[in-house]
Symmetry: D2
């Protein structure tokens, strides 16, 4: 049985039962619930070893010219493209998502690496000549030191690539702790990073659970923590990390609404919703889980079209890319999602399509759940107030755009949203006034491209700065401002007790 | 007796004993310790009233074109220049600093307002055409809502001007809580803001103590808190505010070292140190409180020159601008500083000049302390490890630049530092490798100019983003990213279950 | 009779018949054609005197801290607001435009000054740490030296304010040559600049004609020329100035089309067109002079609505702000516009409303022409291919948006255009694919605001960089890039014959 | 005999005698003056064929998402690294420079491609919300169309890579005309570009002479021309291209001075000068051709050290990388350089080292010239006023830094310069006040790195914008500014005849 270990100081430890005493935990294939590996759960000592390696590698790495640090990214991009199949097999086998969907995920991760190639431009400081007589001032964006990333099960390849490539391009060193449910792709990508030329200690991967997380959050040598996961953990990570003097950004849960205006092309909107709601079984923080139709006529038509399309949706093992949807990640998660469905029925929502009880021939033990469609969902129902993270789409009905926007604006989350319309004025009013960080106009999954930044509002993000793109440069650096003059030595200068100004 | 009240919803309440039940506290002149006013300490209810006013004013203010919001700043600048004497009298009478020093402070505040006039430029988002086929994406820097500022006694005019002008220029509304020891100038400036055209509720001032602070930190309507003060309170403010879902930046204490290289012009360096150490009685977070001389020869000469200059330093009432230094802010603070001096002697430092016991004719009850000079201070002494915030300059001796830098880099604070040298290479090595946020090369008080940003490292700043300048725009706004396409209605589009990418 | 002279080296020479031998030329009021002043036409020697003053003032001005240079702009803004009436009377009396329209022009000029207050931010260079081992590199945007501006009759206050405030804020000195037909407002504003604190020689104004222009274009001390006027002169200015080693930007003529889609609100579109076509008698380079209606139904309705609105349009002396339109600038220009109208009729266009022969009681000798409306104009007609610069609106009819865009895209000019629609997709297709520099969506006069830049495409602009806004900073500065290292003196370095790279 | 043809519309025409009737010209190896190939000189018709291909490819290429255009650059970088030896053999065989020097050149070109990978970031426009009530405005940097590059013999691989990769990344299509003396490397690199995925017509290469150049300068379809070469041709290219309505930037000659202060480390300065003066035989526009020593003592020592180092400098065939210097490019150029040496002697300069008459065994017919060192050169001598472009270093003597700077500042060229010193103040004074575009402090060849921009001042550059780096993005795009509002259709709006402003 393969052991998925740690990558510390450039060395892959495939023996989980190392001196540092990692515990082992099963890794299963959600399509069959068979055990396909053992992941080593790092002890505090092992995590500290990784931190120490990162700390030791920092001074030399920081002083390497930026262009040289970044050059590794070009090689890494090529290696990722070369090994895409292997990576995506890891993703599908451990997470369950359809292989082609994994390819999309990986491609997005590669696009983040492409953006990292802009680091020499993005790291430029601001230089001012003559802020005073023959006085110059400039700021530098200096690296922080050792940074850490803690990443979720649902994008095992992409989310780590939001973090460490930019972090190290900025001159930091890094310790990554991927999800222990889907650990293989991140570890394999890190190995490719080493192959691409990342020096020992600059990038380290430790697998683990809460013990590893807490060690990263508390250790004084760690300067910054990036986290993606659920809101309760995000809040814990943020408060613990900042409470220990670290910079932190913690991305949490979501409840993403689509609003469908009567002037929208309903066929295209329904098609777009299918992918946005059921792709990757809805296990995406940007998944559309609620569609708010404006007017009953629009709602009725939408429900009809969705019902029709759900009927032909293909569910099955992710390695077959003809499938549209694979299994949920674990039996426990399946049970949790089914609990939400029961609550929805209980609270009075109308279950138009019930995907429960689905059995896939040959994969009867897999965590399968068919697409579910609720109609007449209301704001206070559990299936609206909470994140389900499963293939459950809720239809809400509103009379006006403003009513739909009020529903969204009063929700606890504010990650993503989208609007379907043809009207320029409607689009502008919505995008201006909606209290959500990422907005799509006729774009169902408005994940910003790699040269923009990712981040929600309200309880979807704890921290000031968004992930990847321009904000990530600011997150992984701190500003140093230098004010410099070169007085002539022969000239006597007067004492100045007053506060210096340009007055 | 004048009561210094609150400015809420455009109305100045000079009756501290208002319905909301503010308590009253003496405001004294530190030069005489006579009571010159009563400051109203806002109750929770009063602060909530201010927050409610800010909340109510927000929607209209947010939607006003940026250029119109900013236009008020031009008028405010003119009013501040016109009323500079009144403002600086408030500062000197309540804080004690010399009037001309107050003028320097005010001028810096005005420079921050000048920078705010750049807001239409700084608020520009990033627009990308064709991030996908006929898909555009752009980000907007949208305002946060109600923001709060909590400011210290030592820069009663300037530090509020770091905060609320940019905050409101970005479209936010604001509640300011100035120091209750020096409340008048900030309140008066806010009144000038109203006169300049700030609509009711957009800028509110509440005076108060911990009750007011805690209300601001906890109230859900407050979206962001800026704080300047001591490190323990900064840490409390940061953790409390972020723990209640707010964005926060909290600027704390400092211990700023100057390093004097043997090649520096020692006369000029000594003169520069005089102002940087003793200006405003050392009650500046950017004051130089430690001078590290490289080599004993350099140290001996420096001590001699400083001793000579201290001998002619003029201490006295701040309203006489011929004085170099006024009183400390309170008897309690005087006592605290004297305690540090005693500890320094106790721990073995050499008190070369003893400023204690100074009596100013006509101001015998004032909180006066003459300039003090310690030599042979070592890293672990209390007078080195802690912030004194008084007119006490410590000389340390190091053999090499590296030794001096190690002293600085291992200190808990990292606000400001400066180096005196003529050598380009020495300057570059120092500014690159010193772990301090604001660095001066032959500039003793390297406070960044208004178009750069202010911020220390380590325990001098809790938060990601610096004060004023470019970082303040980012602090007072949140990013919204919009992705937009306009599909032709006649064209049928296929469903896309895979994660969207540019691949 | 008042003589409008030159402002050289801080001194206003109101005696046009000075030693330098300026010739004198009448300045007339277009509403009456009475002579209201004499403008001095500078000789080559006088212009060279101004250039010499600017050259002499340059070194000290360049070295003044940017913040100090910019501070003058705040005072100038206040002075312009204070003296707005005087300035606008100058404009109306010399140009003829309605007083309130002049106020709009002046306000735009003031907004350009507001943007200039961003210069400390905009002048920041780019700083890179460690472009090689311990090698830093940064760029500075340094001033050019003496710059010149040559401005047109139609915006006598605003266009000069596009130029010299930013030029001098960047550290340059300036010689302005306003239109000799409308010279007073620019000269008066320059005097206010001196009052605001611009030192002698930094800003100079010479009135004149071709002799003055040619001197500015040829003199070696002049480093850059900005011009706004007609296309043939713009082309001449650009080629002559660049041929003499100067940087140049020359803004020429225009033919701005509005496209009206059937889904637009036709009432509002017609109202918008009225102002855009007839405001300032159409003597604006951003005036809409052609409206392309999509479909005959749309065209017919539009013609009907415009005819109706033209019927109530008030024409008369500009000092009465109840009027909508004043006289044309000169009898010669009136004759030229009438010639175009005759040509239009001749070539087969349908003159729906004929404004010729208008007599305003009390102003019978003024250059008055009522609003004219042509229908069924085709691309090759003279009234379409050439700029009329008068109150003549041409209606064209197209079957599709693409046909309308082809008309625009094949026109020689590419200054401004606008589209009326409610459809987001139509707007995006138009703004993306139209070959015009400034595009309005439901905005009839899409003059960019002051924090964006103004510039057309094709034969509307000769030069790379647009006017005002961010581009103007780049135009008035040149890049200097410094690469710096500080090798240790004790360390022997090897010779490097190969081309240095980061490889 | 190999014919070096054209690459048009994706097809390499190796038959120079094609239908379009190219003439053929010898390509020789400067080390032996043997003919190694025939280069096809394109007729007007052939160039027009290339332009037509570029024009046809433009619309689709422009609309490809930027990220997709840029993705080709990653592949191209990998291909260039893979084929580096082949490319550098082409360079050395045709140009003569030492192979390792060619490798340095190629690496620089690759670094330019790396910067092009930042294009999605650099192409971002500026977006402003609410420039007026519910009015937004943004600018886009749109491509120009067909662009052309004309490149010199001395950097046959690098200079083309300054141009076309960024041009096409911005959405333009391109026609490159490399030097007909050294055509092979650029053509080969373009083939690799096609292999990397550049579609047919997007990048075209035509070889040729004045006929080809003039066709590119005059054809209306060409929107922009970048040129690098000598100053007379640069001036011709700039005026012809701009005279035909094109954007242009034309980089010309240089005379780059190093200033050596007495406090500099003279050994290191001399070593640095050896490479900067004699690397690539001085055939670099950034070569240091004059060293100004401050004080005779410094000058004497410098001459001594240089003489010593020249004695061991290895001259020989470029394919042997142990050589420091190869032959000059042509017999004609050798003769021209020898003419300068004769003139120097004639005019009174002291020829300390005479490299004339050098014969390399086995390469007796090559264009060899040994390193030459002149002392006591004065400003008006021909060898100072003119660019030699050969291995001739002139020593000048000045008493003060200011005197040295006056020599530089009054020279017609202003490309590069450098200063050797240890003093921070000296460096700052020099870099601030020297009238040269690229400045090195202890960096002898201050060619800006790829993420900064390259450009001289005065007669070294015709045009506003520098090459590569940020300026190149601005050069290869034009600004379009869109102002957009979406009025409610139900709301009647009033007519606005006045000029619109934010007042």
């Amino acid at each position: 049985m393969k052991v998925i270990g740690h990558l510390i100081n450039g060395t892959l430890n495939t023996d989980g039962d190392s001196a540092a005493g990692s515990r082992l935990q099963d890794v299963t294939n959600p399509s069959t619930n068979t055990i396909i590996g053992k992941v080593a759960l790092a002890s505090k000592a092992t995590v500290e070893e990784a931190i120490a390696a990162a700390q030791a590698a920092y001074p030399a790495w920081r002083n390497l010219p930026t262009a040289k640090r970044v050059r590794i990214m070009y090689r890494l991009k090529a290696l990722l493209e070369q090994h895409a199949n292997t990576i995506c097999e890891h993703i599908t086998r451990e997470h369950g998502k359809v292989f082609n969907d994994a390819m999309g995920e990986l491609q997005r991760g590669i696009e983040n690496i492409e953006y990292v190639c802009s680091a020499p431009e993005m790291l430029k400081g601001e230089h001012s000549r003559n802020v005073g007589p023959a006085i110059d001032s400039w700021s530098e964006l200096q690296p922080l030191g050792v940074c850490a990333g803690i990443t979720p099960f649902n994008f095992p390849a992409m989310v780590p690539l939001w973090m460490w490539p930019m972090a190290i391009a900025c001159g930091n060193t890094f310790v990554l702790k991927p999800s222990e449910r889907t650990p293989s792709s991140a570890l394999f990508i890190a190995e490719l990073g080493i192959e691409a030329g990342i020096p020992p200690g600059v990038l380290n991967v430790v697998n683990g659970d809460k013990e590893a997380v807490d060690t990263l959050l508390i250790d004084k040598r760690v300067q910054a923590v990036s986290f993606v996961g659920s809101t309760p953990i995000a809040e814990y990570v943020y408060s613990t990390a900042t409470g220990h003097g670290k910079r932190a950004q913690a991305f949490g849960g979501a409840k993403n609404h689509a609003v469908i205006m009567p002037d929208a092309d309903l066929d295209n909107a329904a098609t777009a919703l299918m992918g946005a709601a059921f792709g990757s079984c809805g296990e995406r923080c940007m998944a559309i889980s609620v569609a708010v139709a404006i007017g009953d006529k629009c709602a009725d038509a939408l429900v009809a079209k969705l019902t029709e399309q759900i009927a032909v949706l293909q569910v099955g093992d992710g390695m077959d890319s003809r499938n549209d949807m694979g299994p949920l990640v674990t039996p426990a998660h399946l049970k949790k999602v089914e609990g939400f469905i029961a609550a929805g029925i209980e609270e009075g929502a109308e279950l138009v399509v019930d995907g429960r009880g689905m059995k896939i021939p040959g994969y009867e033990r897999g965590n399968y759940l068919g697409a579910c469609l609720f109609d007449r969902v209301t704001p206070k129902m559990t299936i609206h107030s909470q994140e389900i993270f499963g293939p459950v789409l809720c239809i809400m009905r509103a009379d006006t755009l403003q009513e739909a926007m009020d529903i969204i604006n009063t929700h606890a989350y504010g990650n993503g949203t989208c609007l379907f319309t043809r009207d320029g004025g409607t689009a502008r009013y919505f995008s201006d006034n909606i209290k959500v960080g990422m907005v799509g106009i006729n774009v169902p999954l408005p994940v910003p491209v790699a040269h923009h930044s990712f981040g929600g509002w309200k309880r979807s993000l704890f921290g000031d700065l968004h992930a990847y793109g321009p904000d990530s440069v600011r997150f992984y650096t701190k500003r140093k401002t230098i004010t410099q003059r070169w007085p002539a030595s022969s000239q006597r200068e007067g004492v100045q007790f007053n506060f210096p100004s340009n007055g």
